[in-house]
Amino acid sequence: MSMADAIGRYVHDGDTIVIEGFTHLISFAAAHEIIRQKRRDLVACRLTPDLVYDQLIGAGCVRKLVFSWAGNPGAGPLYALRRAIEERVPHAIEIEEYSHFGMVARLTAGASKLPFFPLRDYAGSDLPLVNPRIRQIECPFTGERLAAVPALNPDTAIVHVQRADRDGNAQIWGLLGVQKEAAFAARNVIIVAEEIVDEAVIRSDPNRTLIPGFIVHAVVHEPFGCHPSYAQGFYDRDNEFYVAWREISKDRARFEAYLDEWVYGVADRSDYAAKMLDRWRDLTAADRPCEPVNYGY
């Protein structure tokens, strides 16, 4: 399925969405398509909003942000997000804030259809004072009081993976983040794959499969779909772009110009990748194959 079709079908105005990936495997391709299709009023959930949600927020797609760490890793603040919070530009957004553990716990509960997840967290922190959805629960065995957070069950989860077959059986290596939990928690799952491989490749290493195809609704083939994020074994993170984003996002006009050139100004990800071909080449991963294992019996 094309990314345009996948977003058209599975991301609607007002939906709760999760585009996950902790630094690694962030689907900028999906976010750009959401911006191009001018989705509005999204409830955008992610541990680290990162540039990807800074762009969605600055483009006016987001009504509410649910998150745990909102910065440009190693390069300062997310200015489009700060403009929305501090100056209501392009419009005000609501925020709902946890810590990483809280967000991990929310998706873990969502994946397994528990209504909440218990964790030893938040004691003494002011976070529960500003987020009434961080509550307490008493252990029925020890009487201890623990924190509890509610399940997060997005309408749609978008997960970029290194390889998948046509049915969406998806394999990831390197940082795994909360992608498995996000996929199982969601009503609809879009898998975006760096590479579409034969089912036999998947079956040759079943422990590597993080998401089974039968819970997947759309499979999109999108090489270089994470840039400026990265895909281990395919291309490195574009750290220079992350640093450059600081100045781009700081200035509303430059932010708009960026969208005009790299989002609205391209038809799709392959157009973007073609325009970025030299950079792609520079970022291409070195070869570090794993020692294989034997699945015979």
Binding site: H24, L47, E97, H100, A123, G177, A285
Partner: protein
């Protein structure tokens, strides 16, 4: 040999790490301190990043906590479920490094907002994993440059609890971790006595007056103040040539 305040802070933090300890590492100075300790006196220090990399052995300076260099050649890469549940909450983390836009008298840290939460004068990134590291790690080390603004008597928002409002409060709340053990600034090193930040050593060339001028309360001072040892030539060589050759953090 001259050195920067950052280099001194890295060396001082590195010396606080014992061999074999399991540390939750942050990017920047904590990462440099851990990797310096590994090359000096603590070859068996275990480095864990909240991104999921365990026993990382990066061959370049990681720019973010999710840098691919932390994955290649690491001992284990696991999900964030595992990191937060089995490693951190599971009581497997000896030392957590934290930073903060504000730190107060009782070691509470703020990385959420300056000013009011609903109408902040500055919106900061938020907790990330800091809140749970502060609660669950066996001890916490803080590295932060010191100023009256960033060391107020009471933080605007407690993102990551230290000793809250004084001794005993952590135990009352049943917090498993030991709380802040040390704060390393550009002027000196602090320990905690009765849950209160207490100056224990001054960096070479720094004075108690300077310390007092850059802290927001009448700071407690240990009976005996040591001189923080200056970084050695070998420490500086490792920091400059091996760990941060592009001088991104030092």
């Amino acid at each position: 040999m001259t050195y920067s305040a950052s280099e001194l802070m890295v060396a001082a933090a590195a010396r606080m790490l014992a061999d074999g300890e399991v540390t939750f590492v942050g990017i920047g100075l904590p990462n440099l301190a851990c990797n310096l300790a590994r090359r000096m006196h603590a070859p068996n220090l275990v480095l864990i990043y909240e991104s999921g990399a365990v026993g990382a052995s990066p061959d370049r300076l990681p720019i973010s906590i999710g840098d691919p260099a932390l994955v290649t050649d690491s001992l284990s890469v696991c999900s964030m479920y595992d990191i937060f549940n089995n490693y951190l909450q599971g009581g497997r983390i000896d030392v957590g490094f934290l930073q903060g836009a504000q730190i107060d008298r009782f070691g509470n840290l703020n990385t959420t907002v300056v000013g009011d939460y609903d109408a902040p004068s500055v919106r900061l990134p938020g907790s990330g994993g800091a809140c749970e590291i502060a609660i669950l790690a066996k001890k916490v080390l803080v590295i932060a440059p010191q100023s009256k603004r960033s060391f107020p008597e009471r933080v605007d928002f407690v993102t990551s609890p230290g000793f809250l409002n004084g001794p005993g409060r952590r135990a009352v709340l049943g917090m498993p971790g030991g709380g802040p053990a040390a704060v390393i600034t550009n002027l000196g090193c602090y320990g905690f006595v009765d849950g209160e930040m207490t100056l224990e050593s001054l960096h070479p060339g720094c004075s108690i007056d300077e310390v007092r001028a850059n802290i927001g309360w009448d700071v407690r001072i240990a009976d005996r103040i040591d001189d923080t040892p200056a970084p050695t030539g070998e420490e500086l060589r490792i920091i400059r040539e091996e760990l941060d050759p592009l001088h991104l953090y030092i």
